[in-house]
């Protein structure tokens, strides 16, 4: 099966799984369970979003959290003041994307590592500024807390995860996606064959940050109280990076696998050893970069190759 | 200048060498040799693979197939710094000096290999004797030197390794004729001291005037060889490399 066909297959499988998960609330599960799955869904969205720039356009964007944070900031502000939440989220995503395009033009002049640390710096600037400007915790008004329904947020998370899967799948099989992959492989060669690198990179960034902004909006909708600077924290970027690489950067299913593994391991280990999951993931990550750059997806392919020979 | 090569030990023997980069097949079945104390020229147009050949011997490029034997030992799998240790030094194209460092530092580094390090003071004196202008400017950063002086440093640096075989990749490139002559004179002196020389040169008359023998490399293959007098008289060589229509330096295949 061609790679495009495989990706489509995986997209359908994942969407089916999401469809099944939609039935979960009907089983009246514990709140813990819904919260856990919510976290997985949010992580999937964030990771898929990050993967668009990293896996398809080949740039390591370490400022991902900035867009997550901007989406949260704008959504929270609008929603608390009466704007319907979906509209607020759309506004949040729009602001995030606009910001991304503005800095993207400048940022993409940097190559490789400089782009990575440059975006990291930008993210940190934003975080520190927001932290200074809004040092107080943001809490929902009592009336909203009273009317809080988890299942609503859960379905929104499901929808967003589904949207991100569909978006990435559409991108991967499109002409845009092909161009992006060419850039990832060898930017100079791609330019020589007529691929407009900057335009494509900006498109990838726009899509990535729009999704991240929406995820931020979801975060603002979900949490009752948090420090406004919190969603700008670099660990959101690093989490997305880890999930994507461990799962398999540049594939549709990679970030999903990585996200599930990451959240499961984190929650499981958090009971006994806080933060040890990071030690494990750090080591796993190093192993993957050195030995298995395609992540778990590659591992699965190899295993299949050994036993099935069906590649 | 002839020498009875059949009775001298062949120190460098290349046989059936195949090499390239990625999809580019740069060398095909190259076979040649350099005998002890000889000066051998490697001629050919741009892109023929001459630099690739030298880089293979020097250990910068791994050949795909074939053998490179130096004094009976296989070189093709050795790391470049170990090749220097064995007594083969390359003056690379474009000199590749350490610009921010002084003349003396550059030269000293040439003797870095353990075998040469102990003898570096003597080697330094020899280099300064060969190129007196360098002695005067020994503390100057090499990037401040002229092209000709830089080439002297490059040659001197390779000599510091006390090599038995000195290879040069286009030493005359970009130099004024007077300086080219100076470099070539130095090579004669070096060779007289017992060092074999393997020279890649675009300046064919100069190279053949200096060398005992020569090889002709075109399109990655050896298409001709012989004593330099014979090559100079060869019709193809004359037409391609010595005639009035022959294109120098960046010209590519002159035919």
């Amino acid at each position: 099966m061609s790679p495009a066909g495989q990706e489509r297959g995986w997209a359908l499988a994942i969407l089916a799984a999401l469809g099944l998960l939609a039935l979960l609330p009907l089983a009246r599960p514990r709140e813990d369970t819904l919260n856990f799955v919510f976290l997985v869904l949010l992580s999937i969205t964030l990771a898929e979003a990050w993967n668009i720039v990293a896996g398809y356009a080949g740039q390591v964007n370490l400022g991902h959290a900035a867009f997550f944070g901007l989406g949260a900031l704008v959504t929270r502000a609008l929603w608390i003041n009466g704007t319907p939440v979906l509209l607020a989220m759309a506004a949040g995503a729009a602001v995030a994307t606009l910001f991304a395009l503005v800095i993207g033009v400048a940022a993409f002049r940097l190559r490789g590592a400089y782009f990575a640390i440059g975006t990291l710096a930008l993210g940190e600037i934003l975080r520190t500024t927001v932290g200074n400007a809004l040092p107080e915790i943001s809490t929902l008004p009592a009336a909203t807390i009273a009317g809080y329904r988890l299942t609503l947020r859960y379905y929104l998370a499901l929808a967003l995860a589904a949207v991100s899967i569909v978006a990435v799948a559409a991108l991967a099989t499109s002409r845009l996606g092909l161009g992006m992959r060419a850039i990832r492989e060898d930017e100079e060669a791609a330019e020589a064959s007529g691929v407009g690198a900057l335009g494509l990179k900006l498109t990838a960034l726009a899509l990535s940050t729009a999704l991240a902004g929406l995820a931020g909006g979801l975060f603002a909708y979900y949490h009752i109280s948090y420090y406004p600077a919190h969603p700008f924290g670099p660990h959101w970027t690093f989490d997305a990076l880890l999930m994507t690489f461990i799962g398999g950067v540049g594939t549709l299913q990679g970030p999903v696998l990585g996200a599930v593994l990451y959240v499961v391991l984190k929650e499981y280990l958090a009971l006994r050893w806080v933060d040890v999951h990071l030690l494990i993931f750090g080591a796993l990550f190093i192993g993957i970069v050195l030995l298995l750059p395609g992540g778990l997806v590659q591992a699965v392919e190899r295993a299949r190759g050994m036993f099935g020979g069906r590649a | 200048m002839t020498s009875p090569t059949w009775c001298l030990a062949r120190v460098l023997e290349i046989s059936g060498l195949d090499a390239g980069y990625g999809d580019v097949h740069a060398l095909s079945g190259v076979t040649l040799s350099v005998a002890d104390g000889e000066i051998v020229a490697l001629l050919g147009p741009n892109g023929a693979g001459k630099s690739t050949l030298l880089n293979c011997v020097a250990g910068l490029v791994r050949p795909w197939a074939g053998a490179i034997r130096w004094q009976g030992e296989d070189l093709q799998a050795l790391d470049a710094h170990l090749v220097v240790e064995r007594g083969v030094a390359l003056v690379p194209e474009g000199r590749r000096l350490f610009g921010g460092m002084s003349v003396q530092d550059n030269l000293e580094l040439g003797a870095f290999a353990p075998r040469a390090w102990g003898a570096r003071r003597a080697a330094l004196e020899r280099v300064y004797a060969l190129f007196p202008v360098l002695a005067e400017r020994r503390r100057t950063a090499v990037q401040a030197l002229s092209g000709g002086q830089q080439q002297m440093v490059a040659v001197g640096r390779a000599l510091m390794a006390s090599p038995r075989l000195l290879m040069l990749d286009e030493p005359s490139l970009g130099l004024a004729p007077r300086l080219v002559a100076a470099i070539l004179e130095a090579l004669v002196a070096i060779n007289a001291a017992g060092v074999a020389v393997f020279l890649v040169e675009q300046n064919v008359p100069a190279a053949l005037g200096l060398a005992h023998r020569g090889y002709l490399l075109e399109g990655g293959r050896i298409v001709g060889e012989g004593e330099s007098r014979t090559l100079m008289a060869d019709a193809h060589v004359r037409r391609a490399y010595l005639g009035p229509l022959a294109v120098r330096s960046e010209g590519g295949d002159p035919r």
Binding site: G112, I125, T128, L290 | F112
Partner: protein, 289 residues
Amino acid sequence: MTVLAQQLVLGLLIGGLYGLAAAGLSLVFGVMRVLNVAHGELIMLGGYGAFWLAALFGVDPFASLALVIPGALVLGAVLYAGLFGFVVRAHEEARVKNSLLIGFGLALALHALAVRLWTADERSIPTSYSGAVLSVGNLAIPLVRLATLILALVLIGALQLLLSRWRWGKAIRATAEDWQAALLTGIDVRRAYLLAFALGTALAGAAGTLVTIAYSVSPSIGLEWTLKALIVVVLAGLGSMMGTFVGGLVLGVAEAASAATFGGPYREIIGLVIFVVVLAVRPRGLFGR
């Protein structure tokens, strides 16, 4: 006015440590194009080394440099041999990207390990002379911090000397300029890389010790100091250890000026802004070649 002057002096004092922290990162990146973003974690480890030597064995923190530096040298050699040595097999662009990722994983692991072993608490090393202050006019200069600045300068000077006089120091510089030419002169480039990485780690360890002496240490200083080092490297450019040191001083003073003018919280932002501006305008940095 005095308050500003006082702030600037304090900024200068920490700037020296920024310079030392950056020197190790700059050396490694300049020589082998490996961007070790776990550098800050190595600084953190150096700091903990000093802390535990003081806490468990009562070693005077300044004296512990004599133990931390060799220890860090060994750690650097081990990290190179076991990890970064594999990164240098790729060509330059892939190297930078891979080292960034691997450094990230390493930083994550080291940070988590530190939290696990020593908790997230801040630690410092109180000594009998901790509070000593030198009064110059209206300025109060904490002696301990002054000592760390001087030591940082001494260490950078020593490094500079090593690189210009020591046979392998010259080999390292040659490798940084042109590794292929270095190979052709008989230099075992992999050994040069190993030495450079070990030296870089030793500088990080020393910086960590001095940071802990002058301020404090905790697992979270890793990311903070990696960023500081990155800012200074970008500001000063590659190639000059002294230039890097001066770059550190510049950052320290800029931070102090910014904090004095705009208020405390904006101290951190100025460095990042400088970073972004220099990247955009002059990627080679102020002193870089």
